[in-house]
Symmetry: C2
């Protein structure tokens, strides 16, 4: 059995060693490492050379102990990880987080509050283990998030639907504008009888998209009464589509509030022999993988999820830097991705 636990590592070089090699004191090396402006140029160079020669890497624990800053931030996920990452939107959001974080010396800690009602996670965050936190995939009723207030700076992915005592800082997408964008595209391509498969009535994002849909139609002087709600699933979308067809035989376009529902709608249309986009045009929402898995590419509204992740980091970093006037609402815009269906 090969040795697995052996540490052939010498003693990792410390500030002390670098100081000696550079002929200065520990304090000076520390200053150079932390980019203090008050060090003579020549000394800086000498120290940096010593650092490079010895391959010095600051000890995180020691640094953290002395400065009481951890240089790590929590990605707090209040639900099952598989579900969270299984959602392409969050996968992409996390990608944005990471990419933006790569330029910094911050590290991402994955903190999950699944079974325990947030106790362990709250203790972790409050326990001084991280400098800040980004909370994602939070839902109404996640009241334990309140216990995070007053500990470290927090940025929410999506406007939190929780009773917080202070105004939360969040990044969100402009769903109303997204719904408007999609519907406007249908209008501009000459459609006149446009329906929507809306999302659940208790989800703010869904309602906002619906509002955007309605506004676009009103602005164009078209009727906005063809609305059916579904539950963001493919089968729900299929059923909604059938309902719409039976109610509005003159239908020539549909805005679906999610790609998954749109894919269900597409199969429903196909089985009825309705040509897409010939007879009926359809625009989805999300630009999820489902948008390109079918035979005909789905024209859809992309949420800049990666940008949102990056933005969340930006905002948090500003908060950590003590920036007093960071905006609480950070709204990013959607974008239309045109494929075959509309």
């Amino acid at each position: 059995m090969p040795t697995v636990t052996g540490h052939p590592e010498r003693h990792a070089p410390t500030l002390e060693a670098v100081a000696e090699a550079a002929g200065v004191s520990r304090a000076t090396v520390s200053r150079v490492v932390n980019g203090s402006p008050s060090v003579r140029g020549a000394v800086v160079e000498a120290v940096q050379k010593a650092i490079a020669d010895l391959g010095y890497v600051p000890n995180r624990a020691a640094r953290s102990l002395a400065s009481s800053r951890t240089h790590s931030i929590a990605l707090l996920v209040p639900e099952d990880v598989s579900r969270f990452f299984g959602d392409p939107y969050f996968a992409s959001f996390t990608g944005g987080l990471d990419r933006r974080l790569a330029d910094t010396e911050y590290v991402l800690n994955l903190v999950v509050a699944r079974d325990d009602p947030g106790r362990k996670a709250v203790r972790y965050v409050r326990g001084g283990n991280v400098d800040g936190a980004i909370v994602v995939s939070h839902h109404r009723g996640h009241d334990f998030l309140r216990q995070l207030e007053g500990s470290v700076p927090i940025v929410y992915g999506g406007r939190p639907d929780v009773a917080l005592s202070a105004e939360p800082v969040f990044v969100d997408v402009d769903n109303e504008a997204g719904g408007h964008l999609a519907t406007r595209h249908l209008i501009e391509s000459g459609r006149t009888r446009i329906a929507t498969i809306a999302g659940p009535e208790d989800m703010p994002a869904a309602l906002d998209r619906l509002a955007g849909f309605r506004r676009a139609l009103r602005e164009a002087g078209l009727p906005d009464d063809a609305v059916v709600h579904a539950n963001f699933t493919a089968s729900g979308g299929a059923e909604a589509m059938r309902t719409l067809l039976s109610r509005h035989s003159d239908l020539d376009a549909v805005f679906s509030a999610s790609d998954l529902m749109a894919s269900g709608a597409l199969t429903a249309l196909a089985s009825r022999g309705v040509d897409v986009p010939g007879d009926v045009a359809i625009v989805g929402y999300d630009d999820s993988p489902a948008a390109t898995w079918g035979e005909i590419g789905l024209t859809t509204v992309r949420q800049p999820s990666e940008l949102m992740g990056a933005t969340a980091v930006d905002v948090l970093l500003r908060l950590l830097a003590g920036d007093a006037d960071v905006p609480h609402e950070n709204i990013v815009q959607t974008e239309l991705v045109i494929r075959d269906s509309a």
Copy 2:
């Protein structure tokens, strides 16, 4: 900043404070916290009470500095995070990791080695920032992984296809058995002319599944010559299906090495008016969301990805505990999920 319910921020209590409250020394408190067996029962209780009263939480940095163990492990992802988490398999794997880790005091650090050829990530892992690492989604050519050897215990998700100087510890799924399982199911349901849409010829997992397919057919005395390779995409699967149909008109079943390819095959069959599973039965692989998105549920081979994540943690924990004889190969078995298509 509004006052938060609970502890008024003050100075977080330290060992010192607990010691004083319990009327013992810091060392004793430390022993209790770390579960040392050599502390009198009465004292243990007293200390634990003090801990509870004061809401004491050990300072990670101090602990780490003193013990040179970090209690955190790295999840090393050598590629784009979005792609990694966008894959349901990895999302689920990570879920397994997390769930198993929840019982411990270890924390997961997300370490990504995307653009930089591993330099930063390697430095991080070697820099003593983590006690161990779990490496996932590694590909051939990721030679920088070699630089991790000898630093901390490492467990790979999937057998690494990299020239390592020591025998790597990994968890993997038995792809050959999976291919065999799928094919055997088709045989047992009475199919006699069975083809396969295999994965890329340069991927070990794909080849293993193909080998399982062939073995099952040989064992049943059936021909194993109906093989077409595709690239694990839906469109690739559709094209492969068309090729198979043209070559083997007597086809009555197909094993597709991925659900995505199977979904493409399904659309290809549908457009030719072939009934599934009436005329042709089809079994996929992965049990990904794609398996249930279509009109007919896909019978498929599920990879116990979550179990694999949990196993990876188990193995790593044993390594960290200094367990001398942990097996290097940790193989988990696949499972057949029967739906409509076969």
